[in-house]
Symmetry: C2
Subunit: 233 residues, 2 copies
Amino acid sequence: MKVDEIVEYILKRIEKEDYKKGEKIESENQLCQRFSVSRMTVRKAIENLVQRNYLYREHGKGTFVKDNANKISVFLNEIIGFNERAKKYNLKAETKILNSKIIKADKNLSERLKITKNSMVHCIEKLRLINSEPVVYEISYISKEYLSSNEINYFSTAKSEYISSKNIKIKKMEKEFIGIIPDYRIRKKLKMKDLVPVFKQEVLTFTGTEKPFDFTVTFYNQDRYKFIEIIQK
Amino acid sequence: MKVDEIVEYILKRIEKEDYKKGEKIESENQLCQRFSVSRMTVRKAIENLVQRNYLYREHGKGTFVKDNANKISVFLNEIIGFNERAKKYNLKAETKILNSKIIKADKNLSERLKITKNSMVHCIEKLRLINSEPVVYEISYISKEYLSSNEINYFSTAKSEYISSKNIKIKKMEKEFIGIIPDYRIRKKLKMKDLVPVFKQEVLTFTGTEKPFDFTVTFYNQDRYKFIEIIQK
DNA sequence: CAGTGGTCTAGACCACCAG
DNA sequence: TGGTGGTCTAGACCACTGG
């Protein structure tokens, strides 16, 4: 296929550092001429490499080689130490509460939290930023029976602190991992332009009973960051 | 944008179960007529929804609604219990060694394993199948100093058993998660047709020393399976 | 065979960016 | 202003599927 030829050609030039990291590659029209193909064919090849994180485009400027070598590590299990670790890298970390409301559990949510349908659930939307760039978008659900309305602020801003202050013991966690191409809403929150995959995590936290304590869905923008979990045994 | 209109239209019809799960949607030409657009525009909309796992296409047949509701759970931390659990679901699980060879560590690998460049490393490629469908593709690297050539078979087929038989204690694991759109080679191993994201995991296992015991890269085909980790505290 | 999706063409007009 | 990428058109030919 012509598209694949062009993809391979660009990949080889990146590998040979013929196209250098961060630098501009040939324009679409130049590639059209080189391969004697139409622009749509070239664009499909570039689209492929954008999605695979080898290239990025800037309207009016050109297409550039992406540098994935220097992604900054974000440690998933150091929620408390997040700020300190950020300082080590000279980064500014902040968490923004986008929304905090009480909703009625729909079918899916009631099954997840093992509660009856339409029962009241806190829904907290957060954005975690590093150097003012949105990196993590998170939605937490916790049944109203576990959290009164005047505690919501404490819980939202310092979840792990809240848990230890209440002497709640986490017994089990169920994590589900998936790579997805996010829809427009999530792309907007994470300021993503292209149809590039993000890493999604769904976590159910159990404190002993059969009913989960909370359910959290997290989307990680992999553009400039990598997400690492350290397990000590 | 016209493409987005068509995307939204199809999504709404799926949501309303107007297009039912597993069933065929309108053909590309019908959609062209409905929206008075060219076929390339319709195809771009469908492409979007294929990548986001809402639709799949079959050449000569049509475009169908994907059912993601009944994905089968695969438990990541139950490597040993994998076969038993598979039985519970009436599934046949098997592991196939695709390749086992000794290579010289390149720059990246030597940095990962904290060994000198060009030192010898076992490289084991595995495919895990469920009901004869490839689901997990894995490449393990372990320095030759940790594993002699006559042990390689034992290690490859039953890693966790090998580790406990040798009385090796795992002290730490470093896991990196990422969602990617795989290249042709990996798509081929996992029998994937479309540019759909997979979930990728990189794991460094430490047995106490600074040097990692092994480095494993795993690709998970999310098409019909979901991948879950259970953490007991 | 007719209908489907898979690939590709040779244009067009637009918005954006730099000089 | 000229060059870049972003969107879209109205065709074309092909390979695959089912009846």
